[in-house]
Symmetry: none
Subunit: 198 residues, 4 copies
Amino acid sequence: MGVQERRARQKENIREEILDAARALFVKEGYERVSIRKIAEKIEYAPGTIYLYFEDKAAILERICEETFSKLAQKMHAINADPSNPLDGLRRGLRTYVQFGVDNPNHYIVAFVQAKQIPRDAQPKAGERCFDNLRTAVRRCIEAGQLNCEDVEEIAQALWAGVHGVTTLLITCSFPFIEQNRLIDRVVHILIEGIRKR
Amino acid sequence: MGVQERRARQKENIREEILDAARALFVKEGYERVSIRKIAEKIEYAPGTIYLYFEDKAAILERICEETFSKLAQKMHAINADPSNPLDGLRRGLRTYVQFGVDNPNHYIVAFVQAKQIPRDAQPKAGERCFDNLRTAVRRCIEAGQLNCEDVEEIAQALWAGVHGVTTLLITCSFPFIEQNRLIDRVVHILIEGIRKR
Amino acid sequence: MGVQERRARQKENIREEILDAARALFVKEGYERVSIRKIAEKIEYAPGTIYLYFEDKAAILERICEETFSKLAQKMHAINADPSNPLDGLRRGLRTYVQFGVDNPNHYIVAFVQAKQIPRDAQPKAGERCFDNLRTAVRRCIEAGQLNCEDVEEIAQALWAGVHGVTTLLITCSFPFIEQNRLIDRVVHILIEGIRKR
Amino acid sequence: MGVQERRARQKENIREEILDAARALFVKEGYERVSIRKIAEKIEYAPGTIYLYFEDKAAILERICEETFSKLAQKMHAINADPSNPLDGLRRGLRTYVQFGVDNPNHYIVAFVQAKQIPRDAQPKAGERCFDNLRTAVRRCIEAGQLNCEDVEEIAQALWAGVHGVTTLLITCSFPFIEQNRLIDRVVHILIEGIRKR
DNA sequence: TATGAATGAGTCTTCATTCAT
DNA sequence: CATGAATGAAGACTCATTCAT
């Protein structure tokens, strides 16, 4: 038992090591430029070893995406916990989304930019869950009569577009942006003002 | 004379063929996954032939980006031509930007997403020109006292983030979006409402 | 343990196989005409396999040169061991040099002819050691008052030129030479007679 | 007639231009590294044009070798013109050979080193003529009773080896040689002293 | 469990050569 | 006479993946 458990943990550790190494490399170099060999080298294992933990290179990418969406969904979930002022909750939610992206640029780019460019069988379900949180937050605002438009889906998608835009620009674009937080706050501010009933 | 001219035109045609093929492939597969061989196959030429028209693979990417920024800058330029209602002009500008992206998804993704992920010597100047148009449009609105914030750069960058967000999502994301034009209009509407003085 | 050892030996064997094949091809075809593919074919491995043993083509050349100089230096070293008649020692040294060349034509041509034509970072140190042996042998003759010229460097370089000349001609030139040993002996004889004090 | 002549001269000019460019490139880069394209570029003609003057790349090499041997044979011929002191004539002949090499390193290396490494159908006849001059000079010395060995072929070949050695070393070897003329003189001196009857 | 040698297909790129113009 | 577009073969090298150990 003890042995089996330690082994299981050990095994889990290597999986994690691989994911960490891969994620870092994917972002620094881009998915395509990263070879299994480079990942193996980084964690100081033999190339073949990777295949004991993942079916192939795509499976690593897949796993990283799931992980990312899952983490993001978790963060976003907190928003809807607080029932006080829905619009404020929504604002915090949008802020949280962008913050998650800039705090975890590797995760974000891999899942939301690189993965989109690679034909895969299925989008991870966690991705849906993220968006569901946003839907819920929007719905509450509408129910509280705080928005100038009553189409949950339309607003939710528009907001997503807005925050996704800042996030990707800030991460990938070498452009003389103004101070990061100021820009994020401004975008979120505009979005909220743009949907608020007055 | 006639011969030289015909040859030059012929040559230009092939250049275009290559660019068209490359652009399409870049978007479908991603820059890295596209090989010179694949481009050559698509246009039914030998791989070496490509090198008679472009120095290397990067040069093709470069050319596509320039082309894209140039086209976009041209479209955007029209906005500032009409001096009547600055805010309306801005709105049309934002709409034009997104429309350009969804009308030329290949161009857009290559230039604004893929190219950003590849270290290159220089960002094309046309890219700057695009953004300058946006700056100017924003400045006019501010000068006309139509905005609730007077920082040209801050607003311009925030707006860019917004439109870039929808554009990329619509192009790259296989998601059950609402009808495209409705989404675009909503985003632009939100952005304008979000910056308008009231 | 036993496994690791066997593997290491196995690996060393393949390295040698590669070097042997490369050396032979380099001489028959010339360094530039030899491709990694051809080497791989000769030893019946896949081209990529070569790269598990050598960083690149130049590294193979480098290794062959070092090996050659090292072997030659070792042979030449024996000369100066016998302190009896210095001039006789020198004669034997020159003979040894040429013999080494015609016995290992591949090694010799690669290291002394082909490698010289390829810009490399550094000349192997073993090359210097070879020439040092010659210098020493000449110095002893001078100290024993046996030569008609007292400039060690001048004589050593002149002798080197002489033996290098026969060696390369015999190896590379398809010319109706007289019996090889007779020619070598004659050259060495001339050189010794040409520097001997009388 | 006038036209035909001018054309012929023109044609000869381009042939020469090609040969000059090729020779220079062959030496700087080595025969294999030189492409027809590079030659064409250097003389500012189209690649295809080369093929109007030479059958293929090897033919250019061939022609350069012949040219070289011819020039050398001419120089060497002068030696045997002067019937006074045969041994002095021989000495001057050897000196002339080496001087030709260091004065025309490009010609020399291409013909005597690079060409030897490329399998060709036939050695140019001019090469034989060069060596014939040497044979003749040696024969005269023997007939004048000035040598310590009576085998013309043996001595001639040995001398050739000697002068070829210095020439190639001086041209190809990056080695801290003593002053060039001193070394050449020493080698020739040794060779003459080594064959002179005393 | 982990290794690491080996492969075959693929990467970008260059080349000698041909041929319609 | 001269061009230069085009090709097919080959160059060095990298990679995801497999498999015997």
